[in-house]
Structures are given as structure tokens and as C-alpha cells.
């Protein structure tokens, strides 16, 4: 048994931020058990990413550069991870709990029969085993869980752990590895991706401005968007606003939407139903803007303004424009 694997996720060559957070966690685990930290970098023309992974703390990067790995697909990625596990016998493997990370890790766990701790927000080594804290019941409760066995896995929640500072003077070994599946053995084909342009991803965002029932209609999201834009943040929404058809589902925050944890969450016209709170309660600072002083959202907020969001949001946009010089 030797080493800690961290999968470095990329989309069209752009690394997922959570992968660096996973490397930060991996560095800590590797140091505790006194074993090397090994980054797995798969894709096409990803040599630069391997170098970055070293800067972010990896001792070695295993790089597979091949057309079959250009876009993420579970089959060839899981087959290659499985082969590398057999060859290297790592002790632990980590990845971000993204759509791709969850698919890959769940599949590999099934393939090699490993314990998998999903979507963790805390992770340590206790008596040689991974011990995690993870949200359950959409964050209404937390669960402390332990993995057993020779090889153990965990996916980490985006933004639950700090992003380490890269050290460009760090050096490490870069090792090329070969894919194990040929294109004609892979049943899943990616035909294309329609990218949401110009929008900040909710789960990556440092700042989220969300609108709820109080925005009153699709055009009511305009002041929400303007404030988000001046802050460089993402636009969120409550289930009520999504169900009313005012904004696409991809923006929904809450139990049946996305779980987010930004530095700043501004809730405008959102009453704060338990399902919504479940999706944003771990935000660092919460601001509530609502006409109803009794709205439950104020119970989790640090700052509140009891007033009409159509007055408050434009005023906030103006104030930030002045103060931030944007």
C-alpha cells in the first residue's frame, strides 16, 4: 500500500477548483501517513495541468494524454483508475464531489469493492482509516462515518476545504500512463456540450444573489442579476421562483436544487423554507432582504433589511459600484 491518489478534474483543459481543494486535503492525509501524494491527470494536451498539480502539492502526477480521454466519460476513466489502483496500491483516493467526480468514484468503488465516503465536508485519518463528516438529509443533519479496508475513497464537497496556494518552485515526477480502453470499446459517446455562457457557476461562486417568490416574475430577476454582476457573483433562486417558471432549474438552491456554500449569500424575496435553508445555511455571511420581518430567512442571516427588494437591490448595486469602483 502506498500513496494517496487525487483525481484532477478538467473540462476542455480548465481544472475544476475543487480538485485543488482535494489536493490540499490529500497533502494533509499523505503527510499524516508518510506516503506520496499522486495526482491523476487525464485528458488531451493536459501536460500543463500535471505541472500545476505538482505546484498545488502533488509529489507525482500520472498523466494519460489521449483522444479517448479528452471529454470525461466514466467507462475509460474508471477503467484507467482501476488499473492504476492495481499497479500502485494506493491507500486512499480523493476527488471533488462534482457530477463527474461522483460518477467516477462511485463506479470505481463498485469495481474494486472499496468503501466510499461521499460529499464530505470534513476528513481525517484516525487509526489509519478515513473518517469523514458529511451532510445527510440535505444538510439538516451531519453524519460521522468511517471507512474500512485496504483502499478507501472520499469525494469532497466544493468549497468545504480551502484552496491551497500554489508553489511554483515545487518539483515532482511526471509519469506518462496509457489508457486501457480503445474508442471502439467505449459505449458512451459525447456528442457535444451546450455551455451556459457568461454565467458564474453556482457551486464555484464566492458570492450568490438569489431571488424568490418576492421577485414576482421573470423580469423581477433583473435587479438580482445586476447586483450579482457588479459583485462578480452567480444568480440563484428558490424553488418557488423555479417552479413558477421565472428562471431555469439550473439556478435552484435548496434541497432539490444545488447545495451552495459561498462567502456571501444575498437572499432577496426568499422567505426561507426549510428546504431552501438546507441548501445555503453553510454560507459564510448571509444577507436577507424581505418585506416580511417574520420571514424565517432572518433567523440564519447576519444582516437583514426589512424592505422592498426592488428598492434595496438597485440601491445596493449603486453602493457597490461606487465603493468598488466598478
Amino acid at each position: 500500500m502506498s500513496g494517496v491518489f487525487v483525481w484532477i478534474e478538467q473540462f476542455k483543459g480548465e481544472p475544476a477548483l475543487v480538485s485543488w481543494q482535494a489536493l490540499g486535503v490529500g497533502r494533509k492525509l499523505a503527510d499524516e501517513i508518510g506516503e506520496p501524494l499522486i495526482a491523476l491527470v487525464f485528458g488531451q494536451n493536459v501536460g500543463e495541468l500535471a505541472q500545476k498539480a505538482i505546484h498545488y502539492g502533488a509529489d507525482e502526477a500520472l498523466v494519460a494524454d489521449d483522444q479517448t480521454l479528452a471529454a470525461f466519460r466514466v467507462e475509460p476513466y474508471a477503467a484507467l483508475v482501476t488499473k492504476l489502483i492495481e499497479e500502485r496500491s494506493p491507500r486512499f483516493m480523493l476527488a471533488g464531489a462534482t457530477t463527474r467526480g461522483r460518477d467516477l468514484m462511485g463506479t470505481v468503488a463498485g469495481q474494486v469493492g472499496a468503501g466510499l465516503l461521499s460529499d464530505v465536508i470534513g476528513l481525517d485519518v484516525i487509526d489509519g482509516n478515513l473518517q469523514a463528516t458529511r451532510p445527510i438529509y440535505a444538510g439538516k443533519l451531519l453524519s460521522k462515518e468511517v471507512a474500512e479496508g485496504d483502499f478507501q475513497m472520499a469525494t469532497i464537497r466544493n468549497r468545504a476545504f480551502p484552496t491551497p496556494d500554489p508553489d511554483e518552485s515545487r518539483t515532482g515526477t511526471i509519469t506518462q500512463v496509457e489508457p486501457v480502453m480503445a474508442e471502439d470499446e467505449i459505449t458512451v459517446k459525447v456528442e457535444g456540450v451546450e455551455e451556459a455562457v457568461g454565467e458564474v457557476s453556482l457551486t464555484d461562486a464566492n458570492i450568490i444573489v438569489s431571488g424568490g417568490r418576492g421577485v414576482g416574475g421573470p423580469e423581477g430577476f433583473e435587479p438580482v442579476r445586476e447586483l450579482a454582476e457588479v459583485l462578480g457573483g452567480a444568480v440563484g433562486a428558490s424553488r418557488a421562483a423555479v417552479d413558477a417558471g421565472w428562471i431555469p432549474y439550473a439556478h435552484q438552491v435548496g434541497q432539490t436544487g444545488k447545495v451552495v456554500s459561498p462567502d456571501l449569500y444575498i437572499a432577496a424575496g426568499i422567505s426561507g423554507a426549510i428546504q431552501h435553508l438546507a441548501g445555503m445555511r453553510t454560507s459564510k455571511v448571509i444577507v436577507a432582504v424581505n418585506k416580511d420581518p417574520e420571514a424565517p430567512i432572518f433567523s440564519v442571516a447576519r444582516y437583514g433589511i426589512v424592505n422592498d427588494l426592488f428598492k434595496v437591490l438597485p440601491a445596493l448595486t449603486k453602493a457597490f459600484k461606487e465603493k468598488l469602483g466598478r
Binding site: 473540462f11 462534482t98 457530477t99 461522483r102 460518477d103 462511485g106 463506479t107 468503488a109 463498485g110 468503501g115 466510499l116 465516503l117 461521499s118 460529499d119 458529511r134 445527510i136 438529509y137 444538510g139 439538516k140 443533519l141 451531519l142 453524519s143 460521522k144 462515518e145 468511517v146 471507512a147 474500512e148 479496508g149 478507501q152 458512451v188 459517446k189 459525447v190 456528442e191 456540450v193 451546450e194 455551455e195 451556459a196 457557476s201 464555484d204 464566492n206 458570492i207 431555469p248 432549474y249 432539490t256 462567502d263 456571501l264 426549510i274 444577507v287 440564519v300 442571516a301 447576519r302 444582516y303 437583514g304 424592505n307 440601491a315 445596493l316 449603486k318 453602493a319 465603493k323 468598488l324
Partner: protein
């Protein structure tokens, strides 16, 4: 075509979920409901039944409480229901449950698609379905927002998936596992006839032996993850500071300053 919906019961999403003095999870008198994501899976299965004449079955791997979810799906219109359970599965982890599920699907023999929600909202995980797919050797199409087409003759399937960067169009071959997100459809309400059928339904329980797995493979002793403790998240610290807003512009300036001071902007 045979489509199987995989589901479980969870507390209603509006329930206040707590941990009692014995460390057990409670949800007061809130009802058990079908895992909210799975309702979309059941609806999609029903649309395949209506459009393509698919046979539909709903399956759960779990104790008696999962009958609630199974019956809800039957009330919506799913034709058959099966529950997989015996005492060996008590305390099993996702690997054990996935083995039991995969074995039950193999026993059915003719399944073309397992469809389920993107995760189980109680355990916050999709590990069971992903691992079951691996045990079956089937591809996984996860986070599906639209089934674009299925060709029953060739088994070709094309879907749109919701990924971080947008929508990805992917094609594959059945049999496959599909997990769905909310955007895929609007689930129907159970019909009166459906509710009556579900109320009278005796759900067959397949034991581990019937689904062909050895006790040692699925029982708690084989589990590779264990829950040590469940507890409520720490309360958010401090009281809310309400900023007076008789003068909205002034209130906005004060709030902006505070947020800049806190270094969150």
C-alpha cells in the same frame, strides 16, 4: 422494453429532521414520501410506457418503510413493485445494497433500463446505483435532464445531461442506468384508481437468497463504511443585525461597507 424505477422512502422534504436521545433519526409526525428525485424517474418511466409500450417495475432495497415509496409509484401508474430485503441487509452499506439490487435486476432477466433520481436525499448519495451499474456492467447516464430518443430496435439511447458547465448530449446503448434531475419532467399526481390499486397491493419481498447473493457479501460485517454518529449541524452564531431602511440608499451604503469590511466582497 422493461424499465425499472429504483426508489426508497424518505421523510417529507418539509420535515424537521432531528436526532433523538438514542442517536436515532426522527422526523416527528411528518409522512414518509417517495425520495423526491425518484418521482421524476417514475414519471419518465411512465412516459416510456405510454410512448413506447415499456413494461414498468419499481424496486427498493430496504425495510418495510420503503413500501410507502413503492406504493406511491404504483399509484402513479407503475405496473409492478418488488422489495428486496432480509435481515442480512440490516446495517449493510452501499456496496451490500448495490449487490442485492444488481442481483435482483439479473433475476428479472429482461431489464433494459434502471431509472432513478440523481441521489437519495436522506443519505445524500448516489453510491448504490453507481455501484449496482458496475456490478451489472452497464453504462451510467447520470444527471439526465432530457431523454432525447430511444430506439427500441437497436437499444440506442441519446440523452441531455446537466453538468457544471451546461448541457451535455451523450449517446449510449441499452441496457443502461439513468439518473435524473428535476428538470426532466413534471411528475403526475397518483390517480384515484392508482391509489386504490396501491392500497390493495401486496408487495412481494425478495430475500437475499432469492436474489442469489451470499449473506457474507451483503451483511453489515462486509460493509466498507460505517456510520459512527449522526448529529445536528452547529447552529449559526449570532443574531441577525437589522439595518434600518427608512432611507434605503443609506441602508445600502451601510450594508455595503459592512460586507467589504468582512472581506466577503
Amino acid at each position: 422494453m422493461h424499465v425499472v424505477v429504483f426508489t426508497k422512502s424518505t421523510p417529507d422534504t418539509a420535515a424537521k429532521v432531528e436526532v433523538d436521545a438514542n442517536g436515532n433519526v426522527t422526523w416527528g409526525d411528518s409522512p414518509l414520501v417517495v425520495n423526491p428525485w425518484d418521482e421524476y424517474a417514475a414519471e419518465e418511466a411512465l412516459q416510456l410506457k405510454e410512448k413506447q409500450g415499456a413494461n414498468t417495475t419499481v424496486i427498493a432495497v430496504g425495510p418495510e418503510m420503503d413500501n410507502d415509496a413503492l406504493k406511491h409509484c404504483v399509484a402513479m401508474g407503475i405496473q409492478e413493485a418488488v422489495r428486496v430485503w432480509d435481515d442480512a441487509l440490516e446495517g449493510s452499506d452501499s456496496l451490500g445494497q448495490a449487490k442485492a439490487l444488481a442481483a435482483a435486476i439479473k433475476k428479472m432477466g429482461d431489464v433494459d433500463m434502471i431509472i432513478t433520481g440523481k441521489e437519495a436525499v436522506d443519505v445524500n448519495s448516489d453510491a448504490v446505483i453507481l455501484q449496482a451499474a458496475r456490478f451489472l456492467g452497464w453504462p451510467v447516464l447520470s444527471f439526465v435532464a432530457k431523454i432525447v430518443e430511444i430506439d427500441p430496435a437497436t437499444g440506442a439511447i441519446k440523452v441531455e445531461r446537466l453538468v457544471e458547465e451546461g448541457r451535455e448530449t451523450v449517446s449510449a446503448k441499452l441496457p443502461a442506468v439513468v439518473t435524473v434531475v428535476k428538470e426532466i419532467n413534471e411528475p403526475r399526481y397518483p390517480s384515484f384508481i392508482g391509489i386504490r390499486k396501491a392500497a390493495k397491493l401486496k408487495i412481494p419481498v425478495w430475500s437475499r437468497a432469492e436474489s442469489g447473493r451470499a449473506r457474507s457479501e451483503v451483511e453489515a460485517g462486509a460493509a466498507k463504511t460505517k456510520v459512527l454518529e449522526k448529529f445536528p449541524p452547529p447552529p449559526r452564531e449570532g443574531e441577525v443585525e437589522i439595518i434600518p431602511s427608512d432611507d434605503v440608499e443609506e441602508a445600502a451604503r451601510i450594508l455595503a461597507e459592512k460586507l467589504i469590511e468582512e472581506k466577503v466582497v
